[in-house]
Point group: C2
């Protein structure tokens, strides 16, 4: 096959056959198709998109470029949740044990943070001893016995996606819905799950800045799931302000533990419960959403979910005492209050600005190679809609190194708006697709 | 500068600055921008095109990536002609000496044939001893003294274009008018010419299959010329059937020599005279087109143009006796008639099919690395519109090797249509742009 002909076919808006797309992905993974041909192909996809059939074949080829876990012999519904990423998004840490407490199996493979967004693996690694690198055998055993495993992506999973993502990053072909959707799905479907719930975040702190694009992404992932016989449900959720009160790894673990004992902030609790309800729904384990959500809140309050989390911490080498004693988690040596410069209402908290401020403190990475400081971050005392008095603390900055502190102050000042109008509070769950 | 940002700017339809485009071309030529980034950029250009300002800067950057000849101290108007390529297109061999006979200077840098189209250099090399590789100093001396030089592209001219063309060839970004136009213009403007006449061919044997695309290409080259202060004129000409009677290198040289003594076929004579008239026009050396064309035909008949051709053959190491004695040119060892299978009119001769048949005989190259046989080719006795009787010869096949002869017959049979309707003869010159 002459691959240049596949590029021109796509360029001209013709549909490629599944066989052609599989050959292209395979040859690219094997190094037979050079980066420059794939780069031209990806840019053609940017302009011409992909049909449902093409997307299924393309995703399938990436999925089968590596190891696909088979958990079919594990009893129970295997469901995972994926978030497109946000600021203060520690949902996975609460959701995974809560879903297991509710009877699901959660084989969760997560990623690291980059730029203004955080990553589940970095948060888990704040817990002393917690090891996200587990063999596939051990991962399977954990899912079978505890009901969940929390690991990082291995290089055996979807290597084609890894290679393609690196190329997209340097060829301006990241912001392309079929490529985003197929990338996520190829990794998630390798987890051996039966179904998937997606949290597509929209707003200043999210990858998707407007709701129409978020809906399109969600719909595309549902389509891909359908071609692979894996039901996918999508919640579109607000990411205009950070989720919960904390941004920063160790601080987010503390907030997650508070939420796991039923004492978390309402936005974080609500979104987690909604997502787990959706996981039960897609697995066929939910009859009535209202009573399901009540039961989930009860599993937080009565310690069942916390108990699952303590178990998995212990099984993955961490110290489960952190669940009760937060002082065992990394703590920053300095704290300083960031105070209101005026009286009024907190009208907006730009999530992206807050994410970048946290990154500058050391909580996040500017490039993949950067190391992070698990202890540092931000704790908000006032969220959107709160009334403040001039001089009152808006948030506490936890830091170890003061070299970027002036920058961080400036970023936060720019990110937070104080005004005279009490802002409308948009709903947290903006839409639900299936 | 982060080049990925330039790719996304182009992808999003924004205009790049001249400085950004120059930096991109320079960095690509120097190997700082990898092929995969340029491939993505080229595909984005395919979809988003370029503005006139962008095209000027892009072409200028390719032009200045290498040596730009300066012939400003040579007296007289320096004009060249470029054809987008066709089948049986031997115009340059007649046009160059005719233009010089009419008082112009013609520094002509030509290319080789590929696929179904022929190349001027291959035709010239049919002449025993003719050397198309001349130093820049010698080329300049020839233009100064004889009035013309006929050489091949040196690697010093527009190296950025050479590198880009090779990349476009394997990334499905060849068929893109701004990229075609800038590629041609960057090479032609390196010749030290004051102005340029373009023969944009349209039809089955041409690169452009429809006249609207041909006009768009012509207009784009005029625009680029304007940004560089180099007037460009364009003739759009018919390439639905081969030009003249012969296809094949040595055979085309013979036909050119016949035309240079005023005995060529009318289509070839007409197009050559029209193009030289346009060269005079763009140089400001023509007052009345009608009388200019009459004078040009006279310069063919009276031997003035032939005399110039004999001179340049001698100066570039060839044997000028070929002008009178065609037996000094390579001759194929076998000839066979290709006869009409029916009586009627020749309704059409598909130029591309004929070009491929000639290539299969050895007259052309399938890939750049192939060698060619100068002696072989086709001599037509019947062109479009001729009436034929069954069994009468349509053309003579000149061949050395009979291994592809069956294929050649089949191709020719498919390329030539005989029917009962006398076809309309479209004009040879379809349009004129300036």
């Amino acid at each position: 096959m002459r691959f240049v002909e596949l590029i021109s076919k796509k360029r001209d808006g013709q549909e490629l056959t599944p066989h052609q797309l599989e050959a292209l992905v395979d040859a690219y993974t094997d190094g037979e198709v050079p980066d420059y041909q794939m780069a031209a192909f990806l840019m053609a996809v940017y302009f011409q998109s992909m049909t449902s059939t093409e997307l299924g074949a393309w995703t399938g080829a990436m999925l089968h470029s590596g190891q696909v876990l088979d958990f079919s012999d594990i009893i129970g519904a295997k469901v995972d949740k994926h978030s497109t990423g946000g600021v203060g998004d520690k949902v996975s840490l609460i959701l995974a044990p809560l879903a297991v407490a509710a009877g699901l199996k959660v084989p969760m493979i997560s990623g690291r943070g980059l730029g203004h967004t955080g990553g589940t693996l970095d948060k888990l690694e704040s817990i002393p001893g917690f090891d996200v690198n587990q063999s596939v055998e051990r991962f399977k055993e954990l899912v079978d016995t505890i009901g969940l495993g929390l690991i990082g992506q291995t290089k055996e999973i979807a290597p084609a996606d890894k290679k393609l993502y690196a190329l997209r990053d340097v060829t301006a072909t990241v912001e392309c819905i079929p490529l985003i959707a197929s990338s996520i799905m190829s990794k998630k479907l390798a987890e051996g799950i039966d179904s998937l719930v997606l949290d597509v975040k929209v707003g200043s702190g999210a990858f998707m800045k407007d709701i129409d694009r978020a809906r399109e992404l969600g719909q595309t992932m549902i389509e891909i799931g359908a071609t692979m016989d894996r039901p996918v449900r999508v919640l579109i959720t607000d990411m205009d302000q950070p989720l919960g009160r904390t941004v920063g790894n160790s601080l987010e673990v503390i907030e997650s533990l508070e939420t796991l004992r039923g004492e978390g902030p309402e936005d974080l609790t609500e979104i987690t419960v909604e997502l787990v309800a959706e996981m039960l729904n897609v697995s066929g384990d939910m009859t009535d959403r209202g009573s399901a959500k009540m039961r989930l809140r009860e599993l937080l309050r009565d310690g069942t979910a916390m108990n699952v989390f303590a178990q998995i911490i212990e099984e993955q080498g961490g110290d489960p005492r952190v669940c009760k004693d937060f002082s065992l988690l990394p703590t920053a040596s300095n704290q300083v209050e960031f105070t209101a410069w005026d009286s009024g209402f907190v009208e907006a908290i730009d999530a992206q600005g807050v994410g970048i401020a946290a990154m500058q403190l050391g909580a996040g990475r500017k490039t993949k190679e950067d190391s992070i400081d698990h202890a540092v971050g931000l704790v908000f005392h006032k969220k959107r809609g709160a009334s403040v008095k001039s001089g009152e603390s808006l948030l506490t900055i936890h830091y170890n190194d003061d070299k970027n502190l002036d920058d961080v102050h400036e970023r936060l000042k720019a990110a937070i708006s104080i005004g005279n109008t009490e802002p409308e509070q948009p709903p947290l769950i903006l839409d639900r697709l299936q």
